[in-house]
Amino acid sequence: MEPAYSDCRGAEAVLNLQPSASVTISYHPLFGSHDDIMLLELDEKFLPDILNQRVVVRGQPDEDAVLCTQSKTYAIKFVGTSNSVFLIPPSDSEFLDSTIDCDQKDQSQLAVASVIKVAPGFMELVEVGPKLDKLKYLLFKNPYSSEEDIEMEDLGDIERGLYKWDDLVERIQASDDELRSGLQALSALEIDGYWRVVDEKYMDMMLRMLLHDSVLNDWSLDALDQDTVVQVLQSDGYPCKLAEHCLCFFGQKLNESVDRSCVWKLDERKVCVHIAKQILRGGKRKMESFIEEWKQKIPEGMQVSFNMLEGEVLTERLGVDTWVQAFSLSSLPSTPAERFSILFKERQKWEWKDLQPYIRDLTAPGLSSEGLLLKYTRRTQPKADAEPVFSAR
């Protein structure tokens, strides 16, 4: 008898079972627990990404693995079942070597579909936000500063807190797009192949040098020519890349031109906020003296407004005085639970107008901002017409 293919059919025999026909379901000759074979449930829309190998699983051994597409991050959850899920591979599944199976059974005329394993469940994907707090932590271990440590040069990159793009994707649980926008949000730049944040003091020195140069050279802060500025800052000792970064950090590009030099306008808000933060580095200040110093330190032509400091400072009334202290949104963790915990450590009670700037960027899949407030805060309203106050749950 010739070893007919039909003797040994796998999944096809089950899926294409004709009316009035039957197929024997048996255990596969290689039946076992096969822990290396897993099921992953996913949306149809991911299939093209999977087929084109654009999907990766990211995570350190101590982290729960996430699956990343080009733009999004998904947690991988295991869903168990108490049913018996018989998993039947196709007959010509090469990795299972089922041709041996056929030869052994070629005496039989019956159609057989073999079960390779009983699946204990499957994995499903749940969209989650990227885990970018770790990115902040890694990059701030060694910010770029004027005293780049030469002594540490014997150490490896990672020990020195220097990360290339490939080192970051190995460590950060985020999709490529999310990682890129995370780096942008931290104002990180690539220096000699490493992604770095620049030390605030260094940025401060560069800004002051830029303002100084603009007075000397009679530049308008509303129309700074990139080539000229970079050239002058370079002669002051700042690398070209950092000089460009300074314009990027404190300014807005006014034109997009390939053949001509770009023109930048210093951003009033960015510059004023930076200067305010520098003033408050020393600790809390009385409102009047803070405002006075702030106004005096900003470049000519710029106007301060206290609204600019939303999400950067907190005010507090002590007796007759109002005090200002630095409390920067960008220093806070991005997961809701940790964020609220820090906020309530800072203050037990928050008025809505103070709280709002520190939570409006929070996102949690499936939860609205009202939902977040309900979950993490207790809302009290002393009187019907009074402002609501939020405290910890």
């Binding site: 999944a11 089950v14 899926l15 079972l17 004709q18 009316p19 009035s20 026909a21 039957s22 197929v23 024997t24 379901i25 048996s26 255990y27 596969h28 000759p29 290396d36 074979i37 897993m38 099921l39 992953l40 449930e41 996913l42 149809e44 299939l47 999977i50 087929l51 084109n52 190998q53 999907v55 990766v56 699983v57 990211r58 995570g59 350190q60 699956l67 108490s82 049913n83 018996s84 899920v85 018989f86 998993l87 039947i88 591979p89 196709p90 010509d92 599944s93 990795f95 199976d101 052994q104 005496q107 039989s108 019956l110 057989v112 579909a113 073999s114 079960v115 699946a119 499957f122 190995e170």
Partner: protein, 131 residues
């Protein structure tokens, strides 16, 4: 650590696997517990042109239906990365599942066939071999 999900289908159709799912467990007779490889479990029949199926396991008959999954499932195989001696891991897509035949009713006893019921499934397995 990064694991790329590989797929050798390269845009072609992934091989489709099948699921036969039933509530509870299939118990193997004690004599065969340690050598269940190649052992027949039961007979899957499609009595009519409808997507209704019966699955006869020993002297039990289950009735179920074929249904397409709301979302497809990928069959992934984890393997050691051959190029990486440190123990990197590979994940390869080896198939896709779009349908399952689900038996969610209680089994019906086939009392009209006393002989099969006495011999049980394991005997049915023996019976197949001589043919």
């Amino acid at each position: 650590m990064q694991i790329q999900i590989k797929c050798s289908c390269f845009g072609e159709k992934c091989q489709e696997w099948a699921i036969v799912e039933l509530q509870g467990e299939v118990e193997v007779q004690p004599d065969f517990q340690h050598q269940i490889q190649s052992l027949p479990i039961g007979q899957l029949c499609r009595p009519s042109s409808q997507e209704t199926y019966t699955f006869t396991v020993g002297y039990h008959e289950l009735t179920g239906t074929k249904m397409s999954l709301k979302k497809p499932m990928l069959v992934l195989k984890k393997g050691k990365k051959s190029s990486d001696p440190v123990g990197g891991v590979d994940l390869e897509v080896i198939g896709v599942i779009r349908n399952r035949i689900l038996f969610k009713t209680r089994p019906k006893a086939l009392i009209s066939k006393p002989q099969t019921s006495v011999k049980g499934r394991a005997k049915a397995a023996d019976a197949m071999v001589p043919n």
